[in-house]
């Protein structure tokens, strides 16, 4: 049984807080798409994509967040940095739930 999207995001927030992240924004939208969670990890700004999957049969976060999704997230993140005049170093993390078990992938992908 898999979690619903909203539940997964809620749990991911709790998990990130435990890991020492400071949540900055949730479901931040631009015309390119949406970022589930924006947080600060020390001096780094982190854009987090949350994925709920019932099993690992379809691969890890790289498979769940395909190149098109990565581009949309990156474009949205770029907009966020511009609008907020943020000059911090940025990173993309992915949090997945396989069933109820969460995994956090720090620095899950980069812009090629």
């Amino acid at each position: 049984m898999s979690l619903s999207g909203a539940e997964a995001e809620e749990r991911a927030c709790l998990l990130l807080k435990e890991l020492g992240y400071m949540i900055v924004a949730r479901n931040w939208r631009s015309r390119y798409g949406e970022i589930d969670i924006i947080a600060r990890d020390g001096s780094t700004i982190v854009f987090v994509e949350v994925k709920a999957r019932s099993s690992r049969g379809f691969g890890g976060p790289d498979a769940a967040v395909d190149i098109g999704k990565q581009r949309r997230i990156a474009s949205t993140a770029g907009q966020f940095l511009q609008q907020t005049r943020c000059e911090l170093q940025a990173r993309f993390d992915v949090v997945t739930f396989s069933g109820e078990r969460p995994s956090v992938y720090r620095d899950a992908f980069r812009i090629r």
């Binding site: 780094t44 990156a74 993140a77 000059e87 170093q89 812009i111």
Partner: protein, 512 residues
């Protein structure tokens, strides 16, 4: 944060110092390498990222830009992996900001190991020229870099070693180098001894003359007569490489990436025998990006052996003419031209006709005159003009094949050759950049190859009788000079001219 280190690029035979700059700015995580990188340099991003992670460091977030300056030199090769990785570590404050002038090169494996690269020797020479105290190189290349006196070579095994060394946490001892010990290797046992080849006294004599005067040689004979064996014995008849010569050879091999793993000085004279299907670029040098050295440069200070000479592509043979004359090759391509040394002795071998048995004592030749003419016409006159000695290598008579008589061995011949070479160096000390009789042009011949009355009469008669051309005439004089030098005679005598006339080559092959 910004970091700056030094690395190097090989451009032709020389190296240039390259500044590796790295900047990490805020923003989305990207990693770019700029400064005219070739494909393999751009690809290094993935190696660098893995190597940094697997060496216990973290790969920084943010906009990473690595710049290789000056931006107008094409950056090829994998040697930038290590300096870029170190610059990233400094820029991300995982390493203290050091001021490091010494050039750093090395390829990274994904686990952080540092792998050997080509072209380290030229880099060490450039470091010496720039007055730098040392170079930081992969452990595989350290022996090679250590050859340069005055530059310390620090061998590096892994990225973490390099980081600790730059940060001053560990000491790395410079690679020691014992040049005298390396050169002693040249006096090794002879592997292709003349004494092991049966009969062929005239061909052996011609080899001795070729070795003594640096003359190019064409052997003509039926299959199985021993042409290849004879050619193979030539490098060992030549005097051992001096340190300077060995360094020049090593430099070419370093650039070509042909040094043995962990090897340093090339101490044996090169012997290159490219197959007759060789391409133009393979022979004189070329390839994508910065042109690399070809067979003629790999034969520098050694012997280039072309077996089945008429089978080579005509265009490939014709391109040899200029390097045979200039002893160097200039490769010009769009936006870049590089010069490689190419001072080699050419030994060529061919059959007298397509079937191989023209003039043989036992087997009849099955070729028509037309076939023979066409076969020989594949060699142009100007090309054959560069060959001083034409020698027939006939089938061995039965008594030679089973006979017990052994000829002089290579050791003895080499002593005679060395003595003759010394005489030439002495005589040509004032001539710029010329070291052997083979390099004498018509002016040099006039200066150094004066004939006595008897010799002059003999040569005059030969010119008339054999229809010797002006070039053929100069060639005979050059060879006679070498024969006289082998004889320790100050003046060329009639006997020397007579012997030289035997190699003039209007019988065994066209030309002359």
């Amino acid at each position: 944060m910004f970091a700056r280190l030094t690395s190097g690029a090989v451009v032709g035979i020389d190296a240039r110092l390259i500044e590796v700059q790295c900047d990490i700015a805020g923003g989305l995580p990207t990693f770019q390498i700029v400064g005219l990188p070739e494909k393999e340099v751009s690809e290094s991003r993935e190696r660098i990222r893995s190597a940094i992670k697997n060496s216990g460091f973290s790969f920084p977030a943010g906009r990473i830009t690595a710049n290789l300056a000056p931006a107008d030199v094409r950056k090829a090769g994998v040697g930038y992996d290590l300096p870029i990785a170190l610059a990233i570590l400094i820029a991300s404050e995982q390493l203290p900001g050091v001021s490091e002038q010494r050039p750093i090169v090395g390829e990274l494996a994904l686990n952080g190991d540092v792998r050997g690269i080509s072209g380290v020797l030229p880099l060490a020479l450039e470091a010496l020229d720039r007055g730098l105290s040392g170079v930081i190189v992969p452990v595989e290349n350290a022996a090679e870099a250590a050859l340069i006196d005055g530059v310390k070579a620090y061998p590096i095994k892994t990225l973490s070693d390099a980081a600790a060394f730059l940060g001053g946490d560990i000491e790395i001892e410079a690679q020691p180098c014992d040049v005298a010990h390396l050169l002693a290797g040249t006096a090794e046992a002879i592997r292709h001894d003349l004494a092991d080849i049966r009969g062929q006294a005239q061909a052996k004599r011609a080899l001795e003359i070729a070795a003594a005067g640096g003359h190019n040689l064409l052997l003509t004979g039926p299959p199985g007569a021993g042409k290849s064996l004879l050619a193979r014995s030539l490098p060992e008849l030549l005097p051992p490489l001096s340190f300077e010569e060995a360094l020049e050879v090593t430099r070419v091999y370093s650039i070509a990436g042909l040094l043995e793993r962990g090897g340093s000085l090339v101490v044996r004279r090169p012997f290159r025998a490219p197959h007759h299907t060789i391409s133009y670029a393979g022979m004189v040098g070329g390839g994508h990006g910065i042109p690399g050295p070809g067979e003629i440069s790999l034969s520098h200070h050694g012997v280039l052996f072309l077996d089945e000479l008429p089978e080579y592509d005509r265009r490939v043979l014709e391109t040899l003419r200029q390097p045979l004359e200039d002893r160097t090759i200039l490769l010009s391509r769009a936006g870049i031209s590089v010069r490689y040394p190419a001072s080699f002795t050419l030994v060529a071998a061919m059959n007298p006709c397509p079937c191989g048995f023209l003039g043989d004592t036992i087997k009849p030749c099955t070729c028509s005159m037309h076939d023979v003419r066409r076969y020989r016409k594949r060699l142009s006159g100007p090309f054959l003009d560069r060959i001083d000695l034409f020698v027939e290598v006939p089938r061995l008579p039965v008594e030679d094949l089973f006979g017990r008589r052994r000829s002089a061995n290579s050791d003895t011949v080499r002593d005679a050759v060395e003595a003759a070479r010394r005489v030439q160096w002495e005589r040509m000390r004032e001539d710029d950049g010329r070291f052997s009789n083979a390099e004498l042009d018509s002016e040099g011949v006039r200066a150094h190859c004066a004939l006595g009355e008897e010799g002059a009469t003999l040569l005059k008669r030969a010119v008339a009788r054999f229809g010797l051309s002006a070039r053929g005439h100069v060639r005979v004089l050059r060879v006679a000079r070498t024969i006289a030098d082998l004889d320790r005679a100050e003046h060329i005598e009639a006997a020397h001219v007579a012997e030289a006339l035997r190699y003039r080559g209007d019988r065994s092959a066209p030309g002359g």
